[in-house]
Amino acid sequence: MSGWRILQIGLFIVILSLSGLWMNDGFQVFTKDKSEKVTLQKDDIFGTTIEKREWVEDFQFGLLPDDPLQPFRSLSFYFAIAILTIAIAQRKISKSSKSLS
């Protein structure tokens, strides 16, 4: 197996893993750095359930970056690089197979 093919497979695995991470983080459009922890508590005095909310540090991988100056904090960045590299690798593989034949 050529180096280009190994690179293609490697990138495919990376993209698959990052897509899994993105799905696991809740299909976020933008990368987030905090999430909200919500605790429900019964309030007997007012006869209702009240929410206690607090922001906690929690990186959630998004499709687009949270900061345009840091594009690597997004799935789309790795997607673009991987597709480009896979295409270049495919071209190289095709070229080398043509020259062999």
């Binding site: 459009v29 933008f30 990368t31 987030k32 750095d33 905090k34 999430s35 909200e36 309030d43 007997d44 005095i45 007012f46 006869g47 209702t48 009240i50 929410e51 206690k52 909310r53 922001w55 949270d66 900061d67």
Partner: protein, 215 residues
């Protein structure tokens, strides 16, 4: 004809004088927001084609006066600092505080001045407390612009008891309020065409207030 006009005047005057009584309570009740009673919170929701997001502020402050004999005349003021609004994305929060958005430096507070209650409907009244729904009408001030605003409110007024005393002195109050603001109305224009694509044109607010009677 003359008697018809007089009748109309009497009807209009009686409608104007219509007063809703807060149970058997007498006088004015000054209610101040108090963390010991509960954490007051304003949650805001943005719905745009690209993203739905929500945020909140838990640094609400203020007070209101319930006029027991004529609830319609109740007033109050609630406010919270712009830079206490969080959405879970620090960069977006920084942009939100900036000049193109809410301009926290020049206009640090968002306020809602309640001038009167209308459409009051008593939902429950017993020896533990009173519940009523109403429309709170007043002025909302955001980014230095004041606009007439109307919020749907539901008030739970709980009389002082041994259980309430464990939280705070006096009668306790919880208010649930909902209203919506149009960013354009308050001169919040953002950058480019972000409003309408990444941020909703209208922001829905869901407010929960907790306070106790203060003298």
């Amino acid at each position: 004809m003359k008697s018809f006009i007089i009748l109309c005047i009497i009807i209009i005057a009686s409608l104007e004088l219509k007063a809703t009584q807060l149970g058997n309570i007498k006088g004015k009740k000054q209610i101040t927001l108090n963390k010991a009673v509960g954490t007051s919170i304003v949650k805001f929701y943005s719905n745009s084609p690209l993203e739905k997001f929500e945020g909140n502020s838990q640094l609400l402050q203020g007070s209101f006066t319930l006029v027991a004999e004529q609830l319609e005349q109740s007033t109050g003021q609630i406010s919270f600092p712009v830079n206490s609004m969080k959405t879970g994305l620090s960069k977006r929060d920084d942009h939100m505080y900036g000049k193109d958005w809410l301009d926290a430096k020049s206009y640090p507070m968002v306020t809602f001045d309640v001038k009167k209650f209308t459409g009051i409907a008593i939902k429950k009244s017993d020896n533990t407390g009173i519940e009523f729904s109403a429309m709170a009408e007043g002025q909302c001030t955001l980014k230095g612009v004041s606009k007439y605003a109307k919020a749907k409110v539901y008030v739970k007024y709980v009389f002082e008891s041994d259980a309430t005393k464990k939280r705070a002195e006096g009668d306790l109050v919880m208010v649930d309020a909902d209203f919506s603001v149009s960013l354009k109305d308050f001169n919040v224009l953002g950058k480019g065409d972000i409003i309408g694509s990444k941020v909703g044109e209208n922001i829905d607010l869901d407010i929960k207030l907790f306070g106790n009677e203060s003298n």
